[in-house]
Symmetry: C2
Subunit: 225 residues, 2 copies
Amino acid sequence: MSEKKAVVLISGGLDSATAAAVARAEGYTGYALSFDYGQRHRVELEAAAAVAQSLDVREHRVFRLDLRQFGGSALTDANIAVPEGAPGTGIPVTYVPARNTVFLSLALAWAEVLDAHDIFVGVNAVDYSGYPDCRPEFVQAFETMANLATKAGVEGRGFRIRAPLIDLSKADIIRTGTQLGVDYALTISCYDPDAAGRACGRCDSCRLRAEGFRTAGVPDPTRYR
Amino acid sequence: MSEKKAVVLISGGLDSATAAAVARAEGYTGYALSFDYGQRHRVELEAAAAVAQSLDVREHRVFRLDLRQFGGSALTDANIAVPEGAPGTGIPVTYVPARNTVFLSLALAWAEVLDAHDIFVGVNAVDYSGYPDCRPEFVQAFETMANLATKAGVEGRGFRIRAPLIDLSKADIIRTGTQLGVDYALTISCYDPDAAGRACGRCDSCRLRAEGFRTAGVPDPTRYR
């Protein structure tokens, strides 16, 4: 039986670490892909490397593309402030235009070269972040497109976009990852961590994460500043 | 009435120059996007800049992302030779995995930031190159995905992926562009041009182009070496 390969997108955050752990638990050999896209926080990439190593991936690549060339988001544009306080309504300013589309497209390119047919991504639609590219209908539409776009798709060796967290609450994600041995101390969720990787505890992402650990009844290993 | 903006993908080739000319003829303000993706031939980017300037675009950006990090194609991998002679059957080795998916994803990101809603791309399915990501079903699937992926799509200001050449023969493309004032002397189609931008005259792409000019009855301005 040939090796089952999967490209696993790893951001350094809690969700993608959990999705990658699911891939490992299903017997896939992981090829981890992260993006150096001009995000403000270099500690995310350090976290991604630590997570990838902890999950025994075969290889970890950091693909460079500078989305700051386009701007338009608080996460890539130094002229837009990251909001604090409770989550608002609508799509937040931390939305990066077409980010998951771009990342999945590059994952697809690598998957095709590797002859991998599964791409694991940690998107989640329940604790809804307001990002349109985290919804199941987006994931399904991307998969359909991917199978029309590629040589492998046309030749019948299709791709699956695996989003194992899509229906899970943050607490369920944490419970799942904890069972699968994810070391969440390695992960960073904060939109505004300090240079040592310590979280602010105030942004939307910190609040969702802290509440997730509380609800899951799992000790929160997050380092706050 | 507000300005009509379009992102126009310009590769330096004949097809994308024609698609961009169609956008101009329809009254769009063009925002040209090219990719420095590790292609072997730097003259393509020089041609893209010349084409963009000749078509009066508002701005021309060259986005850098190195697809050689993934390999897998004769056009990006120095270890795979570009074939000569008549087109073969099947998908050729010059196929770059998921290339149009990646390029359209980045065009989508820029379009969303610009508040542009049309993306013009010179893909063509008639003189079929064997590339799966040049077929109408791919273009349609990408558009569907794009409108689920983005803030603009969700909020009802949807995107259209415009592929005005998709049903045209190479001769019809050349006739269309000639009527719209495209200067094809600026464009390069050859898979293996020399450093001065002169074409080999032997590769698949050169053959299709030369035949197109002959059939269209338009003088061929291509510089051969």
